[in-house]
């Protein structure tokens, strides 16, 4: 295929295009007809050039004028910019009607219209593409506004997403101790790393696997950060602790000692589980050199007590609890961010597509429905894995439900399953239905059994037998014996 930036390349591309193309000039005349269009219409392309092409109305009785008029763009194109319409060529050559996409290029007298005939389905286009376009626009706006903070987990329009972005914006501007609170798989570490890059660019960061630490191992792990601190009095470093609230208390105490002694030069970023309610409260910012960060200097006893409670509940050493409450970022689980799911999934898909992982470039509505219905117990990590799976499984450009992992596409809430899973006794159900029909027939015939049998299309003897059978199971055994 020819490529280049000169007009000749464009000409060659248009001439060799397999789909019919034509151009309508600003003065509503045919300005160009491609070879494929001429073949479709059964005429020589040059015969149509400069013929009036507007409103579907021909300039004369000449057949080529009528044909040119039938190629005219729909009304309202100037306002909308692009429209689709079924073109029915006014020709005796038997050209089949085709849907054409009209695109208006330029403004006023310099404008021209490019028409492309193909198998467009305007209504389906509207239904499915409008939504993916809306998601794309939402994502583009998010990327533009939060360019530096564009970590996928913060995308979306839910109140939770907005709160998260507001907190992140603050965290990105201040170098202070940080606490990230959220369930497992919520994407906290990616956010923490990004915030670190923005708030303290170039600063050494050491990642600590909290639950695996004891005091000695912790010292060995954070040694590079401590070494940086000893290099000069102005040097600084950051320790990022995964699952801080699951870290053994012995290691937490040692870490608290190191952080306190560093007097603000060693920053702590703690990744924790669910946030204690205390940490949701805004704390007045002050400066306390003993804690090495901004803390609330005027806390009252109730807050201290609450910190103790929270620390006990979450098993966080009190000094570390104070550190992670300096500025806390709460990440809510995906099940409470249902309205963000289409945007998050699309953002992940865009990233995979851009990375060349597969041809899939948008999610079908059915796939989005499956994603919305699933509760995502492992949160963002699971969503990311599901999209990765879908991109691998999808050979086309649209991800369908069957491309999603089995757990996602086959998920049904427990309440929905129960009615269908309940065993059905077919014989009993048929017997109940038959009994109801017999009862209705008897009532309708004023309990005349012969008449009821006639209404039911069976013999009287058979009706009596069925009445006896219906009575038999429900008859009290004692009564049966007595009779």
């Amino acid at each position: 295929m020819p490529t280049g930036s000169n007009a000749r390349t464009l000409t060659r591309l248009l001439a060799t295009a397999a789909v019919p193309l034509w151009i309508v000039t600003a003065d509503h005349k045919i300005g160009y007809v491609s070879a494929a269009a001429a073949e479709w219409l059964g005429v020589e392309g040059d015969e149509l050039i400069n013929r009036l092409c507007t409103s579907g109305s021909a300039a004369s009785q000449h057949p080529l004028d009528a044909l040119a008029a039938s190629l005219s763009p729909p009304a309202g194109l100037a306002d909308r910019g692009e429209m689709t319409m079924m073109i029915q060529p006014n020709t005796t050559q038997g050209a089949t009607p085709r849907t054409a996409l009209f695109v208006r290029i330029g403004r006023d007298s310099a404008a021209f219209t490019l028409a492309i005939a193909g198998d467009f389905h305007p209504h389906e286009w509207d239904a499915s593409f409008t939504e993916s376009t809306a998601i794309r626009q939402q994502l583009d706006a998010w990327r533009k506004r939060y360019a530096a903070l564009a970590v996928t987990v913060s995308a979306g329009a839910s109140p939770a997403a907005k709160r998260l972005r507001a907190r992140l914006q603050i965290a990105a501007k201040i170098r202070c101790h940080l606490g990230f609170f959220g369930p497992s798989g919520c994407g906290a570490e990616a956010l923490a790393q990004r915030i670190h890059q923005l708030s303290a660019p170039g600063e050494v960061i050491v990642v600590v696997e909290g639950p695996l630490m004891d005091a000695e191992l912790l010292e060995a792990t954070i040694a590079p950060a401590v070494d940086v601190l000893t290099e000069s009095p102005s040097s600084a470093a950051t320790v990022l602790v995964r699952a801080l609230d699951e870290m053994p208390m012995e290691a937490q105490s040692r870490l608290a000692d190191v952080v306190t002694n560093a007097a603000g030069r060693l920053r702590l970023i703690g990744l924790c589980g669910v946030q204690p309610s205390l940490f949701c409260e805004p704390l007045a910012l002050g400066h306390d050199t003993t804690l090495g960060g901004d803390v609330a200097p005027g806390r009252d006893a109730s807050i201290d007590h609450a910190i103790d409670d929270a620390a006990t509940d979450r098993i966080i050493e009190p000094r570390l609890a104070e550190c992670v409450s300096v500025l806390s970022v709460s990440i809510e689980p995906l099940r409470t961010r249902v309205e963000d799911l289409p945007v998050l999934a699309s953002a992940l898909l865009d990233a995979r597509h851009a990375a060349g992982a597969g041809p899939a470039e948008r999610l079908s509505r059915a796939a989005l429905d499956s994603i919305v219905a699933y509760p995502w117990p492992s949160n963002f990590w699971e969503l990311e894995a599901a999209i990765r799976h879908a991109v691998r499984a999808c050979a086309g450009d649209i991800v369908m439900p069957e491309h999603l992992p089995l757990a996602v596409r086959s998920y049904r809430s427990a309440e929905l399953i129960q009615p269908e899973a309940a065993p059905v006794d077919l014989d009993a159900a048929v017997a109940r239905y038959e009994s109801k029909l017999i009862q209705d027939a008897l009532v309708a015939s004023d309990h005349n059994r012969a008449e009821a049998a006639r209404r039911l299309g069976i013999s009287r003897a058979r009706l009596l037998r069925k009445i006896d059978e219906a009575k038999a199971p429900s008859q009290d055994p004692a009564t049966r014996d007595a009779s």
Binding site: D126, E339, D369, E415
Partner: protein, 136 residues
């Protein structure tokens, strides 16, 4: 314990909204409430609503059915006569004019996709609380 049923009548062509109801609505219920979702063809909704007494009516309109809005409006109007039914329309593409017309017929809310359903939590729980006060 006395369990209060919370009825949802869903009129749709598939099972999309029934699934959405079961996915989101149970989280809104108290311990003494239970969810009952009834799938009904449009023509039978009114009779079913009459029998059940009160709840939420969810109408699905596909874009292909947009031309059938007058029919829906008539049905919605029949439901609007009963204050104990909260009517919701689920449609991917409704013009503002369609929405205005349907609002006049008693449609309380419009949603486009299942992910919009949780946004109606306050409205729906408020409706059930109001109906409960009226009936008891």
């Amino acid at each position: 314990m006395n369990v209060t049923p919370r009825h949802w009548i869903v009129s749709e062509s598939g099972a999309r909204w029934r699934k959405a109801c079961w996915r989101f609505v149970p989280e809104w219920l108290g311990q003494s409430e239970s969810l009952l979702v009834h799938s009904q063809p449009p023509g039978e909704v009114s009779a079913r609503a009459e029998r059940l007494g009160g709840g939420v009516l969810l109408w699905e309109i596909e874009w292909k059915q947009a031309a059938e809005l007058p029919t829906l409006a008539r049905m919605a109007a029949s439901g609007a006569k009963r204050d104990d039914w909260l009517q919701i329309v689920a449609a991917a593409s409704l013009t503002p004019r369609d929405r205005c017309a349907l609002s006049e017929m008693g449609i309380a809310a419009f949603i486009r996709h299942p992910e919009d359903l949780p946004q109606l939590r306050r409205m729906v729980t408020g409706h059930f609380a109001r109906v409960h006060r009226v009936l008891h």
